[in-house]
Symmetry: none
Subunit: 198 residues, 2 copies
DNA sequence: TAAGCTACCGAACGATCGTTCTGGTGTCAA
DNA sequence: TTGACACCAGAACGATCGTTCGGTAGCTTA
């Protein structure tokens, strides 16, 4: 027996909830949701919540408290071609959904973030203040951008090899190549980059 | 009159709550908190919550629901120098974030992602294939990096003004300045950048 | 050794929670 | 014309919520 196709809910409901969550970091109660959505019956709120839950946007804690679901943090990824008159971006067509965290992080337990200091990697498009997504591992390949520990500080550089051993090369001619005296301590390999510009 | 100095609370309480929040993205109720903290009296939970609230770790929504406070996501040891042994690569901000998503997105309903095509903004550290975090809005200021719609395609450029009107300037001398014939249609303003390198 | 804290327990209570059920309205196809 | 269905209102209800208040055990201070 085929499952009955559920009518899609008003996307504005989800958006309002996401905005509320972004502000308060909490999912509100049914009565607050009713106000938020302009609905005056808790029973209908319950039904809407049920559908969002079914669609994966909401979930429950073991203690039966409402919480964000797996798809709650999805973002619209606009295609690079735009339809003819498309003033209203609410149209579902022309968008894929992506969650930024899933996009960048493959192994959460081995992934961390390091803030970039200085302009030594500017030719690789890595600016001062950017966050580097690092997959922690003790070794890397020549050509990888690695986060190494030099003089008790994190440093982001290209990994390269000279006859003397491994070296760290900046992507900026104004900076010198680093040739570590002892063993080169690698913290991890760069897997991504995050920059906030506003 | 000097304010009475409050006894510091057990830091383990806050840690347990932060762990719970990291898992469920929600602040639990008093009875769940009691279980979480190994306390059997809700009245005492209420007192602890009151002190966390006083210290800025917890807060209330306008609807009197408990939510994370301003200091909830703070890091204990936030500096980019590395301790002996393997470090916890904290953010130098003094604040940690729950998710990368949270770091980049302020208004989810008005935010979407656009993939960059080409090298026209390479001098701004924006590479081919990067994802631009866009806050959708119909106008912008000179100097902003904007996502505009030109010939039914998204294009990322600096917004500038010439005597003829607004123009779009690339960050790469090999590319021409775009002078739109009619009205310049702005999709939104760049608020961040995401790059995957692996 | 009594008084005065702090840390906690436990019962009681009114408010609010989410659920359930009954019912109304608008739309569309048969 | 009549269902069928989606959308929504409202009342009723037991469960759970957070608050209040009284009480206890242990440690200080005087």
């Amino acid at each position: 027996m085929a499952l009955k196709q559920q009518q899609p809910l008003d996307p504005a409901y989800l958006e309002k909830l996401q905005d509320y969550y972004a502000e308060h970091k909490v999912i509100p109660s049914y009565s607050v949701l009713a106000t938020l959505w302009g609905i005056s019956a808790k029973s209908w709120v319950a039904e809407c919540v049920r559908r969002f839950e079914e669609a994966g946007y909401l979930d429950w804690t073991p203690d039966r408290q409402l919480k964000p679901g797996a798809r709650f943090f999805e973002r619209r990824l606009a295609h690079d071609t735009v339809q003819a008159g498309l003033p209203n971006p609410a149209l579902a067509d022309g968008y894929d959904m992506v969650t930024i965290d899933d996009y960048l992080i493959r192994v959460p337990s081995k992934t961390s973030l390091v803030r970039v200091k200085g302009e030594s990697m500017i030719d690789a498009g890595i600016h001062d203040g950017d966050l580097i997504v690092v997959e922690q591992q003790p070794n890397a390949n020549v050509g990888d951008i690695v986060v190494a520990i030099v003089d008790n500080e994190f440093t982001v550089k290209y990994l390269d090899r000279e006859k003397g051993g491994f070296v760290l090369k900046p992507a900026n001619k104004a900076f010198p190549v680093i040739r570590p005296k002892g063993r080169l301590e690698i913290f991890g390999v760069m897997a991504g980059l995050v920059r906030r510009t506003r």
